[in-house]
Point group: D2
Chain length 183, copies 4
C-alpha cells in the first residue's frame, strides 16, 4: 500500500509534523508539503457556462502525485479550530478537479483510497478539534472514501508534542497495518 | 451600531450574498468582500524569535476597516462543510494581528463586538454545517466576543436560495435589533 | 398526513410544550405525552440466546399508536445538553422493538415516516443543543427515516419561551406543509 | 486519589465493562453499577413553589457514595448515539441534587473532582460518538469539573471489544496517573 502524506503546516518541523512522522516515518510513504506548492484559492465557477477557468499553479501536479497512492494521510495543525488555510485552500480546489475533464474518474478513484487525519492544536484539541473531525468525515462520505481513523495531538509551543504520549502512541498505531504490508 | 459584513464568497451575487442582504441590506452597514482584497495565507511564525515577518498585502487595511464597526457579520458559502478558503485564510491571519504591535488592543477590542454568521451550503447544511457553527463559536469564545446568532441556508445552483424561505426569514431577523438602532 | 407528537417533557405546559404547540396545535395531530406512559428502561438482551424478555409496560401500546401516523415530531426539553431521560428511555427501547416478532416491518415502516425535532434549553441551546441534533440525525439515518428539520428554543423559567420570537416563528413553519395537507 | 467508576450498562460483563476494567481494574477504585440501584426518572419541579418532591429511591445513597471519591469515571454503552438510558436518568436527577438542601456544596464539591468518560458503540463510534463527548464536556463545564479525557471503543457483539486494540491501549492509559498515586 502506497501512502501519501499531505502536510498542511506552514512551519517546518513543527509539532504536527513530528506527530505525523510517528505515524508514517519520513522514509515510508511520500511526504508532500503544501507549503512547497503554489495552490491558488478557488474561484467558484461551478455554475458558469464555461466552467472553471484554467488556473496556472501546481494543483494538477500535486493531485497527480497524490493519486499515485492508496492511502492519504492528511496532517494539519489546528488553526482556529479547523484545518490550516493551506489545507483548506487545497481541498477547496477539489471542486475544480471534480469538473476537470483531465480527471474523469476522480470520484471513482477516491472510493478506492483510505483517508486518515492527524491534527494538532493547543486549545483543548481533543474536544475543540472534534468539529474538524466531523467535517473531515463528511468530506470522506462525499467521496465514498473510507475514513480510516484520526489522531488529535495537543501542543502549542515548539516541541510540546513530545509530552502528549497518548497521541504519540495512537499515531504510531494509526497506519500500522498499511506499513506492515510494505510500501 | 455600525455593522461590517465580511463576505467570504468568491462568486459575485451568489446565494450566500443574497441571503446575507436579507440580514443586512446593501445600503445598511459596510459590505466588505474578501475577494476584493489580497490576503496572503499565514506563515506560522508565532514561535520564531523575531516573530511574524511583515507581509505585503491588504490585511491591515481590511482589519482597520472591520474594527471601525460594532457588529461583525461573517458570511460564507460552505465549501467542504467548512468556511470558504478565503474566509479561512483571513481568519488564520488574525493570529498575526494578535502579535502585531500595531494592534495592542485587538483582543480587548473584540470583546466589545458582537459576531454573527451566515453560511450557505448545498449538502444538508442544517446538519452538516453544524461543525462550522461550533468552530465559529469556539473562535468567538477565544476572543470573548459574543456570538449573536447564525443562519444556515440551503442552496446549490445559482438562485436556489430564494426557495429556502426558512433561512430567508431567519436572516431578516438576525440583526434586526441592531438595524433598528440605526446604522 | 397524520402527525404524532411525542412529548418528552415531565412538566405539564412547560416551555417545550408551548413551543411545540406552535408547530402542531393541540387539535391538529395526536399529542402523546411520555409522562402518561409507563416505559421501563431497556435491559440489553440483544445478544442473549432467548432475546429480549417480554416487559410488562406500555411500550407496545405507545409504539402502535405512534406507527398509525406519517409524521413524528419529537419534542424534548434539553436536560444536560441532551434529550430528556424519558425520551431517551423510550428511544432506547426501540432496540427491543427491532427484535420483537410483533413488529417484523418496524424498520421498513420507519423509512416511510418523516421525523422532526423540537428541543428547548436554557444554556445557549442553539450552540450546546447541536450535539443533540446530530445524534437525532444519526438515529434517523439508522432507520433511513428522513429528518425533516428541527427548531431549538431558549427558555429556562416557566413562560420564558414567549420571548424567543425566532424559535416561535420557526416552529410555526416547521410542519406547515404537512398541516396544510390536512390531518 | 480515590476513583469511582459509574457503570451505565444494563448488561453484566459486556464490552463497555471490559474496556472500563482496562482503565480501572476491579480491585482498584469503587465500581458502582447503575443497574444495581433504583433511580427514578426526574420530574422537573425546578420551578414549582415547593421545589422538588422527595423521591423514594436510591439516588442519595448513590450520590453520597460517589462523592466520597476524587475521580469519576463514567462508563456507558452508546445507545442511539448517546449515553445509556440509566446513565441519562441518573444524570438528569443531578438537577434535583443541585436543589437539595442536603447537598449545599454539591457544585463546589464537583469543582474539585475530575471526570472521565468511556463509551462503547457499534456504529462507527469514533465519529458518531463525538456528540456524546461534546455533551459530556458541556456537563463538566457546567459544574466547572475538569474533563480529564475519554476513550471510545468499538464493539457490537459480546466480546468484540478485545479486537479494538487502540481503545484497549488508550483505556489502559486513561487514568494511569491517578492509579499510580495509589487508591
Amino acid at each position: 500500500m502506497k501512502i501519501a502524506v499531505i502536510h498542511g503546516s506552514t512551519r517546518i518541523n513543527g509539532n504536527t509534523e513530528y506527530l505525523t512522522y510517528q505515524a508514517v516515518p519520513k522514509e515510508k510513504g511520500t511526504h508532500l508539503y503544501l507549503r512547497d506548492y503554489n495552490i491558488k484559492p478557488i474561484i467558484d465557477e461551478r455554475h458558469t457556462e464555461e466552467g472553471f477557468t484554467k488556473v496556472d499553479d501546481d494543483l494538477n501536479e500535486l493531485i497527480d502525485r497524490v493519486l499515485e497512492h492508496d492511502i492519504f494521510l492528511f496532517s494539519t495543525p489546528i488553526y482556529w479550530y479547523s484545518m490550516s488555510g493551506p489545507m483548506k485552500t487545497f481541498l477547496d480546489r477539489w471542486s475544480q478537479i471534480l469538473r476537470d475533464s483531465a480527471y474523469p474518474d476522480f470520484r471513482e478513484d477516491l472510493k478506492k483510497k483510505v483517508a486518515y487525519l492527524i491534527a494538532v492544536g493547543g486549545d483543548t484539541p481533543t474536544i475543540k478539534g472534534l468539529p474538524l473531525v466531523q467535517q473531515f468525515n463528511y468530506i470522506c462520505q462525499f467521496y465514498s472514501m473510507p475514513f480510516g481513523g484520526y489522531v488529535i495531538g495537543k501542543a502549542s509551543r515548539p516541541g510540546d508534542i513530545v509530552h502528549d504520549k497518548r497521541a504519540l502512541h495512537q499515531a504510531s498505531l494509526l497506519l500500522e497495518k498499511h506499513l506492515q504490508q510494505g510500501e
